[in-house]
Amino acid sequence: MITFDFPGMLLVIILLPPLIFLRHFWKNRGGRLSFSFTIWDQEVFKPGIYFSKLILFLGSFFFWLGLLFLIIANAGPSLVTREKIYMTRGIDIMFVLDESPSMGAKDFLPVNRFESAKGVIKNFVQGRDHDPVGLVSFGKNAVLRIPPGLDYDNFLAQLGNLQLLDLGNGTAMGMGIALACLHLKESTAKGKIIILLTDGENNSGEIVPESAAQIAAAMGIKIYSIGLGSSGKVPLEYTDLETGKIYRGIYESGYNEDILKEISAMTNGEFYQARSPAALDTIMSSLDSLERIEKRTRLNIKTRPIHRELILLGFILILSDFFLKKWIFREVL
């Protein structure tokens, strides 16, 4: 946005139209001399330069445009940018996402559980305001994808790159939670939460979910666990990343609800069941409103004067007209 320190100076622009009229259209204007052709004892006038009228018009156009820029520069123009400065710290949120093959179950149409979970995480993060977010994913192993931070673009890029079976065929839920706790250890936020999205039972890794939950409780981290999918037989499809082969079949779905309830209860969190995409959306929306703290902000206004650019531009345009008319067209006055 452009603002002017002295907007009253822009009133000088009113003088331009009458000046243009007087300079180019007024019948009695100066700068023209009538004379007898018989006195001109020289060659007949020849049209010297092609498109001379066009070039003369351009020259005049540059002149008046340059003058306009100078008048605008005199009004003290500045480019204003507004930046919201946060005075309070947000809460740290770590997503722990299951990447095991069962997340390829197609009971979260039109996509599968995994893509549906990624979608709601994306919407959740995009709706947050200055809360550091991080991402851990787990299959047979658990990996930190993004440490907690405010770079939402980077987070969403990493989230988009996640693929099923990337971390092997298994469910190391306990390791995922423990890893999330490890990377929240140094956080100075008053509130720290883990949002766990899984559809299976812990069957891999050295740390069981209960132990990881104890670590989280000791660190004051709440765990909100979301059990994805319905029980029973569901169609499943996933791609082996190494071979590119697509596997399809029927999968006996189910997760240990008691474990998930227990780890949430131990950490003063909540357990939720999401049997459909709509249910998952609702759960994430309620989490979104549940875990919000009041933030104090201040508006930082930065101004950058741009008068110098306009002065130089106007100067160049007016000089262009001068050289065009005095040098090329040899105007004497």
């Binding site: 007087l22 300079r23 001109w40 004892d41 400065i85 405010l150 490890l182 006055l333």
Partner: protein
């Protein structure tokens, strides 16, 4: 570049070089006077030539004088004179440090044992251990800058990545410090008034980009740069993956050495500091700089520009210049 004279300061003294434009302008005006004097004398005829010449001389003189005055005052306006400044002290709330590491092939040089790159990562580990407050990020650069870890409180994620830094991380070739600094600048989080510092580890063998321009951009954004020069002036051969020394197009072995001149030039900027990694006190000195720069204040010096006085006169002279042409005198032209 600024210079100071009493309480008046000229922000852009380079603008005064534009005064050289007066030479061709005056020359052209002189040529037009000669031409006009000759031609108008011819076409004026026996009875009017004296009157026409009088009018021409007077109008030519005043229009030329006014145009020259317009040029002079426009240049003075563009040079941006400023009056006494108003100092604003703001306190920063914490510090964000981005480690910017050169991972080009020359950083495998062993003139700094065990290697330039290893020395750099060891120093980073030392910073993480010794700086108990602050947030950290990690950017590496070769042909371009790449963000590895966004700014985060999670130090363990940074420590986990350090052993894996190597020229093989990315395929881009060359060494583009400008891109590295720009990527580092984009890594800092917006919306917070924290002191921002880039700690740059490099041997200065920069093959692409304008490092000074990006350092000036950092200065304008109030970001400091601490350069840890890694390498020796004498230099060393660099070996490729096969163990063969790298050669140039003529077959000569390339000697990679520390580019002190680049760092010394950059350190002329008030936001850039240069230390050598071989100094035993490099860690302490750099931490002292970090604490001093981030401890208490960000000072901004707001100076009121006085350009409008000159620009107003420039516009006035231009209006008068137009008027001399527009209004006929002595019923002639």
């Amino acid at each position: 570049m600024d210079f100071q004279g009493g309480t008046i300061m000229v922000v852009k003294p380079d603008t005064f070089y534009l005064f050289f434009l007066l030479i061709p302008v005056v020359y052209i005006l002189y040529l037009r006077f000669k031409r006009g004097h000759k031609d108008l004398g011819s076409i004026g005829g026996k009875f009017r030539s004296r009157l026409i010449m009088d009018v021409f001389v007077v109008k030519w003189f005043f229009s030329s004088l006014l145009f020259i005055l317009f040029i002079i005052f426009s240049i003075l306006a563009a040079a941006d004179f400023t009056g006494p400044g108003k100092t604003t002290i703001k306190s920063s709330e914490g510090v964000d440090l981005v480690f910017l590491v050169d991972i080009s092939g020359s950083m495998l040089g062993t003139d700094v044992p065990p290697s330039r790159l290893k020395r750099s990562t060891d120093l980073i580990s030392a910073y993480i251990e010794n700086l108990h407050e602050g947030r950290f990020g990690l950017v590496v650069f070769k042909g371009e800058g790449i963000k590895i870890i966004p700014v985060t409180e999670d130090r363990s994620s940074l420590s986990a990545v350090l052993p894996y830094l190597s020229p093989d991380m990315f395929s881009s070739s060359g060494s583009n410090l400008e891109s590295g600094i720009n990527t580092s600048l984009s890594t800092f989080t917006k919306g917070e008034e924290r002191k921002k510092i880039i700690i740059l580890f490099t041997d200065g063998e920069v093959l692409k980009g304008d490092a000074m321009a990006s350092a000036e951009k950092a200065r304008n954004l109030n970001v400091d740069i601490i350069i840890i020069g890694t390498g020796t002036s004498g230099g060393i051969e660099i070996y490729n993956a096969n163990g063969d020394p790298i050669r140039d197009d003529k077959g000569n072995i390339v000697i990679s050495s520390l580019n002190n001149s680049l760092f010394e030039n950059m350190s002329f900027l008030e936001n850039v500091f240069y230390l050598n990694s071989s100094d035993s006190t490099v860690l302490k000195d750099s931490i002292d700089i970090i604490k001093e720069r981030s401890g208490s204040s960000i000072i901004s010096d707001i100076r009121e520009s006085r350009y409008r006085i000159f620009l107003s006169f420039a516009i006035l002279f231009l209006f008068l210049y137009i008027s001399v042409r527009i209004f006929p005198w002595k019923n002639t032209f």
